[in-house]
Symmetry: C2
Subunit: 385 residues, 2 copies
């Protein structure tokens, strides 16, 4: 297999883009990424998306977005893994380039969520859970996270306020990200007084849905060097799954897919948690961030939330997370978030993260979570120079 590098990135601001259709939104970062890579054509496009069928009555986004981006004719396919759909598109693009089928491929994640009434969006999102054993019984996706969070608090002795720093950190970092949905800091006091959505998940434990799209261009590393000195290599790409329904797991606080996905990624890269300079994780809810930190080896079981309490997740901490705002404050257009994470990681690794720039980072892990930890997709990116 060939080494693969990211040679172009693109992203739209996350927000309420009522004036832009799905195809316009999706094509924008594709064109940006091509421009960034100094390319006019690619050989294939993989589009990550979860909700366009339910919310926009539009499928076949591969062909649709390829065409609107001026790439009519190329191989183009949609990929779905619930909230990890963007990362799944990157995975497919990686397979195509690493395996030698194509030389230059775009992975794009796109989601348009705010045109629909929020009740409809909530209903659509439950499709990430188990429709028969969870959805049909009235559980929303937030409620599932609430069950997990409550158990975590009980099991490991946390108060709700102990999760504040996840939200505070994300919002602080979003202030300097022009593509973030919420560019304002919040205080721990604001977190404490936020209204509950599904106790103990409050408004500020939750990421906001939004419209957005992000894309990356991949090429073989040996070809990438010539075209772009800032190429970032993908040194690991790993997917693992679990049951979709929470109740079918032996221990819901030991998310097997997240542990397996992380382990596979470390094995591929020949690296360990100590080698990771920052971690773009899937903070759709604060409990997800805590569990992801544990599964990826940055904290022992039950200590993920403590890492946040102790300030280790900030830009100055030992393992910075959500460095451009994360899902929490950059916003969470579900099928696009997995690629926003990667685009932001590349910004950091290239030294293009502006006021949030980490000092000379070399290695980043990104982890995207589909459903309640049913599908976990992990990539490790390394700056090559």
């Amino acid at each position: 297999m060939r080494d693969v590098s990211i040679i172009g990135i693109g992203q739209t601001p996350v927000g309420e883009h009522w004036g832009e259709s799905l195809r316009v939104l999706g094509a924008e970062p594709v064109l940006q990424a091509l421009q960034d890579a100094h390319l006019e054509r690619v050989q294939a496009l993989f589009v990550g998306n979860m909700l366009s069928g339910q919310l926009s009555r539009q499928e076949n986004l591969g062909a649709l977005i390829a065409d609107h981006a001026g790439l009519r004719g190329i191989e183009a396919i949609k990929v779905e893994a619930a909230c990890a759909s963007g990362a799944a598109a990157l995975r497919m693009a990686f397979l195509a380039v690493a395996g030698g089928t194509h030389d230059v491929v775009v992975a794009c994640g796109v989601e348009k969520m705010t045109d629909a009434p929020s009740a409809e969006t909530t209903r659509a999102l439950v499709a990430a859970a188990d429709a028969v054993y969870e959805g049909e019984h009235g559980l929303s996706f937030v409620a599932l996270n609430a069950l997990l969070m409550r158990r975590y608090m009980f099991e490991f002795g946390y108060r709700h306020q102990d999760f504040a720093e996840f939200a505070v950190n994300a919002h602080r970092n979003a202030v300097n990200n022009p593509n973030a949905m919420f560019r304002r800091a919040i205080s721990a006091e604001a977190f404490a007084s936020a209204r509950m959505i599904a106790t103990p998940v409050s408004l500020l434990d939750s990421s906001a849905i939004g419209d957005g799209a992000a894309a990356v261009v991949l090429a073989p590393t040996e070809l990438a060097g010539a075209s772009n000195s800032r190429a970032v290599r993908i040194v690991a790409s790993a997917v693992a799954t679990d049951s979709v329904a929470l109740h079918e797991r032996d221990d819901p606080l030991y998310p097997q897919a997240a542990y397996a996905s992380s382990r596979r990624a470390y094995e591929q890269a020949g690296l360990g948690p100590e080698d990771i300079d920052f971690f773009e994780l899937h903070d759709a809810f604060t409990i997800m961030a805590a569990l992801s930190l544990e599964a990826a080896g940055f904290a022992p079981r039950g200590e993920g939330a403590r890492l946040a309490m102790e300030g280790e997740i900030t830009l100055q901490g030992s393992i910075p997370i959500s460095t451009m705002g994360g899902l929490k404050a950059r916003g969470h257009p579900v099928g696009a978030s997995g690629l926003y994470q990667v685009v932001e990681a590349v910004q950091q690794l290239r030294g293009q993260a502006g006021a949030n720039q980490l000092p000379d980072p070399r290695v980043c892990m990104t982890q995207s979570i589909g459903g309640c930890l049913a599908n976990v997709i992990t990539h490790i990116l390394r700056r090559e120079d």
Copy 2:
């Protein structure tokens, strides 16, 4: 890249499976295919599906079906390309094995359509068209095919009855297929008197939706030989796209994606139309069959329907199509059809096609169409012995 072979196949009968949930339906052919391949585990599962979000409020089918098939933990992702979703799943599995990422991978296509009221299914299927320029104006997917068929008849001088043999042939072949939805022959007279759905598309020009699932196991050819003497090699795997909306094409009767997909497949295989012993095509509508025959090089432009009129598409003809009933009579569970085609092709190539067995076929082309020829996925399979 490594040579890839199909070492296991599985399928459920197509029909109205109201008693079986999506996961049960999807896991069944996966288990059959594993058994056929003499395997208990695989490394990845790619699931082709178009409608589960809209009709069952269930996404993340990769994780769901992997789990229900006893494969919890493996890489598992859903793939969508409208009505070509099953073929797209095969494409992804092919990329993973050919490229060396995995050794043993399952591609499964599954669709559950008959639980929903038919108006809802019709509405969901429009997602294969352009939602903004076609769907919102009230065009059903059948209506789009009617526009194409009417133009084809006008341009090349056909009467409606000239398409009869596509339906007659498919139904004749389905009689001997235990997995077919309609196991009864129809006459040219029945075709002539069938009621119109969207003129000139009649009931018997149209395939029937249904519930169904089919799966294949892939492995590197060099490993496949040891485990299964009946292995069938995938000598080409090609995807091409076009505009999603019909009106955006210079010539709607020259479907560029179908021509490009066929051409790419022939190039990969080093073969031409004269080398293909039979052709499992996407006869969702008779007009699709005619256009696919032309694009794949079996008839000149405007002559695809004539091939049927002249009896060349029967089991005894020069280019047999829909040898086990095709989408028309085996039934068309949209996201699964692309894999039914491949499973049936393997049955023929292995000599397991029963009363419909072709005499010693060696090479088959399968072609699956997403939307109105917006995404066309072609595979060429060759018996290795």
